[in-house]
Amino acid sequence: MSVAAYRPAGYLAIVAIGIVAPFLFPAYQSQMAELWLFIVFALTWDLVGGQMGYNSFGNVVFLGVGMYACVVAQVGLFYPVSAYNAARGGGATVFTFDMTQYLEGLAIGLPVGALLATLTALALGSIVLGMRGHYFAICTLGLGIAAGEIANGWEWIGAGSGMVPPNAPDAVGDLSRFYYYFALALAVVTFLVLRWLYMTRFGLAINAIRDNEDKAEAMGLKTTQIKVTAWMISAFFLGIAGGLLGNLKRFIDPIDTAFAGPTYGVWMVLMAILGGKGTLWGPVIGAVVFQVLKEASWTYLLGWQRVVLGLVIVVIVVFFPQGIMGFVRERFPDWFGHRVEGGTIAGPARKETLR
């Protein structure tokens, strides 16, 4: 009971910490900005993978689409994109953006990225969301890699050499801090929207699809429509996150950054599972733990970090599939308002943790 009373204060405290954090730890602000984006990745993956039970390896496509669309829009508004990409690596012309152009590009680029990602989800979702289980998982894996290969071969967006977002004018100031607040705002909005969404009828419907799709369909739910909508919501936020990530990292590598590869595409799945699939807070916790682990291993295990990442995936998936939230819920069920009878958890909690 007492947990609910402190909830608004807790939310405010987290946002307050988020706002002052870059001033307290300026050395880590780009990592912290990345962390807020990771929270968005994990939350949006969990909407489809955890709450709806459709384990997708292809959500990274929306991230990549958002990333490329945003940067292409930022550049394309003022200069021809192909000339801009051709000048990379010290061409004769230098492309500069003044403050108005930069902000204008961002104000148009981010929504364009979100819109294109959402449309991609609509188009792909109507095609692939009819599949179930492992066929869906592997199909989305194929989509993610195909998108990476296409971006890798497409001259107009820089092909294999990737694309560099426009240089920020000096008036922007500290670039990581600038994008930190964008990322923070996006994470907070995403969290609140999903929190609201899970309390609505729509949230119940996607949970019903996870638990038994045939029954849900027999009960009169338009499952395909609901699934596509959920994927589109996921894609919308991922598209914005993609635009921010591209600008934050200052470089888009088609295979490593934008699409499948042992990077963001896998990380978002891993973060959601680590925190606990199908819970609201699980992905958030998973993202925080993962980012700390990642930065530590990037620092101390340089050269071997990807090997370690693979090992971490295997260990987590095989030995700890219920995630941190699932573990806590199993150990302390009364924190979540579940009654405990004779050592086993009564009610739906048990079922959820076993998923």
Partner: protein, 299 residues
């Protein structure tokens, strides 16, 4: 689309592409048959399939560097990969055999990342090949060129496939594997140690991939990230052919090899892999559409 007109006007180029495609298709079929075996027997889709191929390739390359003719790498790679597969089964795979399918996919995906990054760290990301030094065979006045090693690889792949079928039909272990594939519980009731059968199946699959990989390294090229395309091709071939259908697997493998080669010529080689992955999507959508139609008939 100038390339299409080239194909239409010069059928001999088409023939060249198709023949070369068929030759590599046999290698795809070999890896796919291993995947079908594991999928059928223990209901696991092994994403690390392509990484086994890649490991087999590096065995051939290491032997080539050591001065041993890489053809000897085929049995060596098979034996080594059998051991690796067996060890991986005892470390990880047996824990996910009866679990949710997504867990096994993700676990094998983790293994595939470990293997590919390990090889990347050890051997670097460069494209490498083992030189078997057999020369090229020319047909039709030099218009159709086939490397002899590709022909040899094709022949060896066929021999391996036949040997595998005979093994599964005749040997005690092969019979146990087939029994476990049909019904694991019944097999256990009848006294088959299904755990050992699973371990042997996984090892056998890895051995097949290893032999395939050694051939790939000689006939084509290998690099640490080559795995996933092989996994996807195997998966696609199995989906098209169905489980336990060797003729179908071979036909689908050869077809895929030819289609991929032609697509690589028409679209440009930089899109060849994209074609493979998009073809996977098309195949799965087609399968889904077919299933949906069948469901409607049942209504």
């Amino acid at each position: 689309m100038d390339n299409i007109t080239i194909l239409l006007e010069a059928p001999v180029i088409t023939l060249d592409l198709v023949l070369n495609g068929l030759l590599i298709g046999a290698l795809f079929a070999l890896a796919a048959y291993g995947m079908a075996l594991v999928w059928g027997v223990m209901n696991i889709i092994n994403i690390a399939q392509g990484e086994f191929v890649m490991l087999g390739g590096y065995v051939a390359i290491v032997m080539g560097i050591a001065g041993i003719h890489p053809l000897f790498a085929v049995p060596v790679a098979a034996a080594l990969l059998y051991a690796i597969g067996w060890a991986l089964f005892h470390l990880v795979i047996f824990r996910v055999v009866d679990r949710d399918i997504f867990i096994s996919i993700l676990a094998t995906f983790g293994i595939s990342i470990v293997l590919q990054q390990l090889m990347n760290t050890l051997f670097g990301g460069n494209v490498q090949a083992a030189d078997a030094d057999l020369g090229t065979a020319l047909f039709m006045g030099g218009m159709v060129t086939l490397a002899k090693i590709k022909l040899l690889a094709f022949a060896l792949a066929v021999v391996l496939a036949v040997a595998l079928v005979v093994f599964l039909r005749r040997s005690r272990l092969g019979q146990a594997i087939r029994a476990t594939a049909q019904n694991t519980r019944a097999a256990r009731v009848l006294g088959i140690d299904t755990y050992r059968v699973h371990a042997a199946t996984f090892g056998l699959n890895a051995a097949l991939c290893g032999a395939c990989g050694a051939l790939v390294a000689m006939a084509y090229t290998i690099h640490p990230y080559i795995g996933l395309p092989y996994t996807i091709r195997s998966f696609m071939i199995v989906v098209v052919a169905g489980l336990g259908n060797l003729a179908g697997v071979i036909a689908a493998g050869l077809g895929l090899g030819a289609a991929e080669n032609i697509a690589g010529f028409v679209l440009g080689t930089q899109y060849q892999l994209a074609f493979v992955f998009l073809l996977l999507v098309v195949v799965l959508v087609w399968r889904n559409w077919r299933l949906a139609r069948r469901r409607q008939y049942l209504k």
